[in-house]
């Protein structure tokens, strides 16, 4: 993620990141790269984790201004835990996404942050929601975001199938992140992945040298 550009002639802030989430049969995989850069010239961190836990089985990935994203997720975590105490039941994934949406929409003038929320709940099972800049909320089986995502639209469209197995989905997500990191100079480092199912949560970290290699001409 980069510092927000103050140049008003620049249309749109480039979010130096690649994030994605995909549902499979019985769960969901959410992942991101780990690079934070300043203006695309200096890598300020090689190992930042952009996948944030907002509740036991609900995670979200941030894209955009790092400061804005952290502030919003902090507020969302608080709202969600309060909501969950009041309801005496774990929150629904759509509730988490709605909390983020409300924060993003009501403060759309000041914020430059987009989110992908993924998780598992008892009502609808595995779900993925995306809240882009501006504060829309859309549920999709698979979604990608950040600057690196443009390079993998074709790959994701061609390769994603609904109801894959856990291993297939994990491989698909790792490949997609590796391909995006290979083409986008502001995405890189390691691939952080989280697999969420009914039984729990598993973190997978794939270091740079263990990422799949593709033909590079």
């Amino acid at each position: 993620m980069e510092k927000r550009s103050v140049d008003s002639r620049v249309r749109g802030v480039s979010t130096g990141t690649t994030i994605l989430a995909a549902t499979f049969d019985g769960g969901v995989v959410i992942g991101s790269d780990s690079r934070a850069s300043i203006g695309g010239e200096y890598v300020s961190s090689k190992t930042i984790n952009k996948v944030v836990q907002v509740h036991d089985q609900i995670f979200c990935c941030m894209a955009g201004s790092l400061a804005d994203a952290q502030a919003v997720t902090k507020a969302a975590k608080f709202h969600l835990s309060f909501h969950s105490v009041q309801m005496e039941t774990p929150p629904l994934v759509i509730a988490a996404a709605s909390v983020l949406q409300e924060l993003c929409y009501n403060n759309k003038e000041e914020l430059q942050a987009g989110f992908i929320t993924a998780g598992w709940d008892r009502k609808k099972g595995p779900q993925v929601y995306v809240v882009p800049l501006g504060g829309m909320l859309v549920g999709q089986p698979v979604t990608i975001g950040g600057s690196g995502s443009t390079y993998i639209y074709g790959y994701v469209d061609a390769k994603y199938k609904p109801n894959m197995s856990r291993e297939e989905c994990l491989q698909f997500a790792t490949n997609a992140l590796a391909l995006a990191m290979g083409r986008d100079n502001v995405s890189g480092g390691v691939a952080h992945l989280v697999v969420i199912t009914e039984t729990g949560v598993e973190h997978v970290v794939v270091p740079g040298n263990k990422l799949p290699k593709f033909h590079n001409e």
Partner: protein, 216 residues
């Protein structure tokens, strides 16, 4: 082509497009979409962006339609003349260098991204990329135009060296279809051509025959 008002006059541009070229053992395969936009209006939905420069040399055009057509005309003339002087078919590298010479000399005035692909006796199938600015580089596979961003990942994972001609055609059709699905300025039909020592084979894949992908 999309139009950009310049001094109050609309000029057609073709920047938004998807073009692709791959080498295989024995020739090259090239492909493109067929949409030309003037702003939000599709001025031509069956454009042919694959232009012959010589018997076994083609170019794929992206950028300003006017600029690329003018450059292609100039290079066709220069190459034809050169080939007569030489008394043998020209090299693909020569054609690529002619494109590069024009694109680099007039880099300030032009907006042209061109892929030059063809077959010659010396080096077989070759693909040269001459992007905006006038660089020249040979690559076994190259994509261009605005739609190309969306298929870098797909190409990186699916291209393998030493594919057969049919595999290349299938891959090109799939990649251009994927780009057309995501890029608002690419669309229409997929035009393909394969060039080898036996000649040029052209085909068109219509909208309803394009490969379909999981819609989400």
């Amino acid at each position: 082509m999309d139009s950009v008002p310049v001094n109050g006059v609309l000029r057609s541009r073709l920047i938004e497009t998807t073009i692709m070229a791959l080498e295989y053992d024995g020739g090259v395969v090239i492909g493109a979409d067929s949409r030309t936009t003037t702003g939000a209006y599709i001025a031509n939905r069956v454009t042919d962006k694959l232009t012959p420069i010589h018997d076994r040399i083609f170019c794929c055009r992206s950028g300003s339609a006017a600029d690329t057509q003018a450059i292609a005309d100039v290079v066709t003339y220069q190459l034809g003349f050169h080939s007569i002087e030489l008394d043998e078919p020209p090299l693909v590298e020569t054609a690529a260098n002619l494109f590069r010479a024009s694109c680099y000399r007039y880099r300030e005035e032009l907006t042209a991204g061109i892929l030059v692909a063809g077959w010659d006796r010396r080096k077989g199938g070759q693909v040269y990329c001459v992007p905006i600015g006038g660089m020249l580089v040979r690559q076994p596979v190259s994509v261009g135009g605005s739609g190309s961003s969306y298929i870098y990942g797909f190409m990186d994972s699916n291209y393998k060296p030493n594919m057969t001609k049919d595999q290349c055609l299938e891959l090109t059709a799939a990649a251009v279809s994927l780009a057309m699905e995501r890029d608002g300025s690419s669309g229409g039909v997929v035009r393909l051509a394969s060039i080898s020592k036996d000649g040029v084979e052209r085909r068109v894949i219509l909208g309803n025959q394009l490969p379909k992908y999981s819609t989400h």
